[in-house]
């Protein structure tokens, strides 16, 4: 094939197909934003609980959170998606839609990884910092807010952005249960037109356009945090 033929073949997508893919990309962005928002809040709470010293003495609570974190971090996301979508309704009788199952799985996945980032960040701060805060008459919340968190946040941010980038790419997995986002659109266009490669290449380009700025931005932030010290 000539080069011109290849490009013509690659851009064989009709404007309508491209519109569908762009709409899919919007859904992917919205889905990632929802999953990151819900998952980060949940993960931050779990990570904070797991960083408390009391928690390691209340064994059942430690085990419960450990089971959650180890399951999320030790099994493939694809399996988790299938589990939430196919197994949970049978177990509980709650009829989950694709939308709820997709967002819930991604948020739980994000939460598991964020909780570990938050926990390691909080545990990296020396205990003497807590003592200093308390001896100055600060309450627990004040010490956390003004002394520990400002230091911990600089440790947490780089892995956190990495986790968010991961979740944007992993939203493609919920297309396997029928969530209509970018990958699902690419797949259905491929099935309809029997030209499977062009829509996937276009989708890859869109994912790249979403993820690349964030990854560059995270590199800049990391360098900034490092230079400060």
């Amino acid at each position: 094939m000539e080069f011109a033929d290849i490009t013509r073949w690659l851009f064989r997508l009709t404007p309508y197909d491209i519109l569908l893919l762009l709409k899919g990309a919007l859904v992917t962005i919205a889905l990632s934003a929802g999953a990151i928002g819900l998952g980060s809040v949940f993960g931050a709470v779990v990570g904070w609980i797991r960083s408390l010293h009391i928690i390691k003495r209340v064994r059942p609570l430690w085990w419960l959170t450990s089971i959650y974190v180890d399951t999320v971090r030790g099994t493939p996301l694809l399996l988790q998606v299938y589990f939430v979508y196919y197994a949970i309704p049978t177990l509980t009788g709650i009829d989950t839609s694709v939308f709820t199952a997709g967002i819930a799985t991604l948020a739980l996945f994000q939460g598991g990884y964020v909780s570990e980032a938050v926990r390691t960040g909080l545990e990296a701060i020396d205990r003497t910092q807590w003592w200093a805060g308390h001896s100055m008459g600060m309450t627990y919340i004040q010490t956390l807010r003004y002394i520990v968190l400002p230091q911990a946040i600089r440790i947490i941010i780089p892995p956190f952005i990495g986790i968010c980038l991961g979740i944007i790419k992993d939203t493609s997995l919920v297309s396997t249960i029928g969530f209509i986002e970018l990958s699902f659109r690419a797949k259905s266009i491929g099935t309809r037109t029997l030209e499977t490669l062009p829509p996937w290449l276009f989708a890859a380009g869109l994912y790249f356009v979403i993820c690349y700025p964030i990854s560059r931005w995270s590199q800049r932030i990391e360098a900034h945090l490092k230079s400060k010290g």
Partner: protein, 222 residues
């Protein structure tokens, strides 16, 4: 919650699970092997004097790291088909995941190489080592030793990513789980068993990596 658990049908199909585990482990190991080789090549190209090598390496790494594995898998699968080459799905998965893993390992190994000081390399040269010997014993081995925790983490990730192989029909552990739950209607039992197997496998990889770390890089523990 009136659900009655029934594990008999799962136990009856233990052979399926075993074959799935073997395929999953094979995929993870091959992915790591290809990934490490490509990672070393990519990291060396990233630091090379040749501008083209640097540009190609960093562009490839950015593309591999900023697009989903699922999309890459489909592009390899359909792309190889469009070129008219007949590659079985299993090898397609191995190539796609190996190359993807190579992108991540390039960044990891590069960080290790950059941590090696020039004096160390000069020390190797002054001991009369040849260029390849310096590369092997003074650059690559200590560099991988420095970043070994990140490499073993990548090993766990490649185990988890290998579940995507089922999408194009490779019969790994997740494939067997989906197959079995569709045949027995025992979806919860199947998934619970498979989740436990995956957790055991990933813990085993962590332990194996720690063993390997102590064995290969003894000097770190003196």
């Amino acid at each position: 919650m009136g659900y009655v658990f029934h594990f008999q049908s799962i136990w009856n199909s233990r052979a399926l699970f075993l074959s799935g585990v073997l395929v999953t482990l094979q995929l993870a190991l091959l992915t790591m092997l290809i990934g490490t080789i490509l990672g070393i090549i990519g990291a060396v190209a990233r630091n090379s004097q040749v501008r083209t090598a640097r540009v190609v390496s960093s562009a490839a790494v950015e593309i591999l790291r900023n697009t989903p594995m699922l999309v890459q898998l489909y592009i390899w699968y359909f792309g190889v088909g469009a070129l008219g080459v007949d590659v079985p799905p299993y090898w397609c998965v191995v190539i796609a995941m190996g190359v993807n893993n190579g992108g991540y390992l390039t960044e990891i190994i590069r960080a290790g190489i950059e941590a090696i000081k020039t004096q160390q390399i000069k020390g190797g040269i002054s001991l009369g080592m040849s260029g390849f010997q310096v590369f092997r014993y003074v650059i690559i081995k200590p560099a991988i030793g420095i970043v070994f925790p990140a490499v073993s983490n990548q090993f766990v990730i490649s185990l988890l990513v290998s579940a995507l192989a089922m999408i194009i029909g490779v019969q790994d552990l997740t494939y067997q789980a989906v197959y079995l739950q569709a045949h027995t209607f025992r979806s919860i039992e199947t998934y619970i068993v498979v989740i436990i197997i995956y957790i055991i496998l990933s813990k085993a990889i962590v332990l194996f990596s720690e063993y390997l770390d102590r064995k290969l890089f003894k000097y770190k523990y003196i």
